[in-house]
Amino acid sequence: MQIIKDKQIIDDNWSYIADDTELKDGNISVSLARWKKDKQQLLKSTGKIGVRIGPADSVEDLAADLKDIALIELDFPAFADGRIFSHAWLLRDRYNYQGEIRATGHFMADQVFYLSRVGVNAFSLEKTEDLPVALSTLNDFTVNYQKSIH
């Protein structure tokens, strides 16, 4: 499957492992609950580790672990759930997170521009045919009023 990362369309090499599924080799992401529960085991795995958080999760809970995490997936249950935007800003600005922040789940191509402004640098869209449009929206505005991440 393809995603947008750092303004390019690339092949994705991460797998999300559901809570009731066995861990596997390679780059994997897990839920925040599983990360908290199986942290030690996960740290020993061969691939890189990512954590998927939802709108109701607290980013603060993850702050101390950020150095061990290569990917944070911000998962939209519905496109209108704007908490994701604050989570992204907090991760990048307050906690100075340098890894990949990826939007996943139910969001729109038309949200990619704002997401990029709060620090999201990768986008896994529901429909891959939307990737070129989503990529083009990153150039929707060349000016802005607020201080932001990018």
Binding site: F79, Y114, R117, Q146, K147
Partner: protein
């Protein structure tokens, strides 16, 4: 008045291009109704009963003559020759075609206007005192801060998908004419003990289904911290505001459920972390202030004697001057209201001909600027007293000189069933009926200052809960009924109106209103206003008469 720089202009133009693409994607079927709904609302486009409705931002109520002419042109070209002014100083068109809206936005961008964030669950147009910069009770002109907030809120990437809509109002005068106590955030410019001017910050006020008076969260905020403090409130709201029930999603419910103390603590903690990064530069404030510098007032404006003579000679003019003009901070000038409440026209509506003519009057008599008010009227804010008579004559010809500002027929009224898909009641029809019953101007003037607000549904767009008399349309098994409230106020001593009794039938509303007014006339003391009398006697004397025959 603020003039766009290259950044402002580029931004609105790029927004037009973006919205054009979004509209085309929707019309092609590549985005769903639900997704387009969120995108179009953030650009002021509703789907109404008959057609889409487009709401255009009137930034803190300020317009120039060029913009007014553009609105006239849009009304003629894309609509049915009229537009509507709203209670938040915005402008609505009720009949545009969806596929033409990007073209309308392009027209607007050419005169430094837009429809960004005039609807949707995002940061809305900032509203303010319609007498800002000219009133005699001003602490400081709020408009530069409104403009700073306008820029900060526009396309703010983090706060575009809030739990619910979010409205900010700023007042800089002793008398609150901007209903700041009924906004999500209300800002009052105040002077502290050391003589410095800053902001008193209120949070959690609002009208609609659950009217709540805002509470002071910060008694004094230094100006340089304005944006960091707003951002802290918004971040806490965005993270913790309820998203499970749209009727409980406004910040007022969060503040109520958390309690002010806990909410304020969370905001304070967040604020301290971002305060230094988001400090407003004094130079930036000064640069914006220069854009609101006073116009070139004539120093000999008081020398004129015509004004006084006309007042003596012409009773109609004198009455208009008494009700529709107010004192100005510069001697020899007055601010003149244009009443959009003529007896035979829907409250707040204006035709293309009137818009063009008012643009000319603004150029002639008021430095080319026009303001819209919270009560759906317009103002020429800087008129020399010598010009008031010719201005009045021309306004009279245009049917914009009804001498009823602040009186019973200066009703706030929502579009109601005639246009709105949410309404339960035909507000405009009721307003017309009340107007017809109160067709004696002397009687209206005898009643004096009174605010009658009428909404066609619980959403309360016409602020009925803060009307001295509030009228609310409700639906009972497919029949229109009307609930009446008394004693509401959105000014300094803010109050939510008390329900008079059971809802009355549609054909009884006008009778009920005239009965209430008669009780007032009979029982008032000397020069006691309607609101003061309600405060003194309560609702019972009114209730007894209104329900006397039931």
């Amino acid at each position: 008045m603020y003039q766009y720089n290259d950044t402002d202009q580029t931004l609105v133009e790029q927004r037009v291009t973006q919205f054009r693409r979004q509209t085309e994607s929707f019309l092609k079927g590549s985005i769903s109704d639900d997704q387009f709904r969120a995108l179009r609302l953030m650009n002021g486009v509703y789907i109404q009963t008959h057609a889409p409705m487009l709401r255009i931002a009137g930034p803190y109520g300020l317009l120039n003559s060029r913009q007014l002419r553009k609105l006239a042109h849009i009304a003629r070209t894309y609509d049915k020759n009229y537009c509507h002014f709203t209670t938040r100083q915005n402008i609505q068109f009720n009949w545009p075609k969806l596929e033409k809206i990007p073209d309308i936005l392009e027209e607007l961008a050419s005169v430094q206007m837009h429809a960004i964030q005039t609807s949707g669950n995002c940061l809305r147009n900032t509203s303010s005192d319609h007498l800002a910069g000219v009133c005699i009770d001003e602490i400081e002109d709020p408009r530069p801060y409104c403009e700073i907030i306008r820029q900060w809120t526009t396309l703010h990437p983090e706060f575009a998908y809030l739990p619910r809509k979010f409205k900010i109002a700023v007042s800089g005068a002793k008398l609150d004419r901007a209903a700041t106590q009924f906004h999500d955030i209300g800002l009052h410019l105040v002077q502290n003990d050391a003589g410095n001017i800053g902001f008193r910050v209120l949070v959690g006020g609002g009208l609609g289904r659950t009217p709540i008076i805002g509470q002071v969260i910060k008694p004094y905020l230094e100006k340089k911290h304005l944006l960091s403090y707003l951002e802290a409130i918004l971040r806490i709201y965005n993270l913790f505001g309820r998203r499970d029930n749209k009727y409980k999603a406004r910040i007022k419910i969060l503040v109520k459920e958390f309690g002010l103390e806990k909410f304020a603590e969370l905001v304070e903690k967040e604020w301290l972390l971002i305060r230094d990064d988001l400090e407003l530069d004094a130079d930036r404030i000064d640069a914006i202030k220069t854009q609101f510098a006073p116009p070139a007032y004539e120093t000999d404006a008081t020398q004129d004697t015509d004004f006084a003579q006309h007042l003596l000679d012409n009773k109609a003019f004198a009455t208009w001057a008494k009700y529709n003009t107010v004192e100005h901070k510069v001697p020899g000038y007055r601010a003149a209201f244009l009443s959009l409440k003529a007896p035979d026209s829907p409250p707040g509506d204006m035709t293309d001909t009137q818009l063009d003519a008012v643009a000319d009057l603004a150029d002639l008599y008021s430095f080319g600027e026009i303001r819209s008010t919270h009560r759906q009227n317009l103002i020429l804010a800087d008129v020399k007293q010598a010009d008031l008579y010719p201005l009045w004559q021309q306004l009279d010809t245009l049917k914009l000189a009804t001498a009823n500002i602040g009186t019973a027929t200066d009703m706030i009224c929502c579009p109601g069933l005639d246009f709105c898909s949410l309404a339960n009641a035909g507000s405009i029809g009721i307003a017309k009926e009340i107007n017809e019953a109160l067709d004696d101007l002397d009687y209206i003037h005898d009643i004096g200052q009174i605010k009658i607000n009428m909404s066609g549904c619980m959403n309360g767009c016409a602020h009925q809960s803060v009307g001295h008399i509030g009228i609310l349309g409700v639906d009972k098994k497919g029949v229109e009924w009307y609930q009446l409230t008394l004693g509401g106020s959105s000014e300094n001593e803010a109050a939510i109106g008390e329900r008079l009794g059971p809802a009355v039938a549609k054909d009884q509303v006008t009778k009920a209103i005239t009965t209430i007014l008669d009780v007032y006339i009979k029982q008032r003391l000397d020069d006691e206003s309607f609101l003061d009398m309600v405060k003194r006697v309560g609702i019972n004397p009114f209730k007894e008469q209104v329900y006397a025959n039931n």
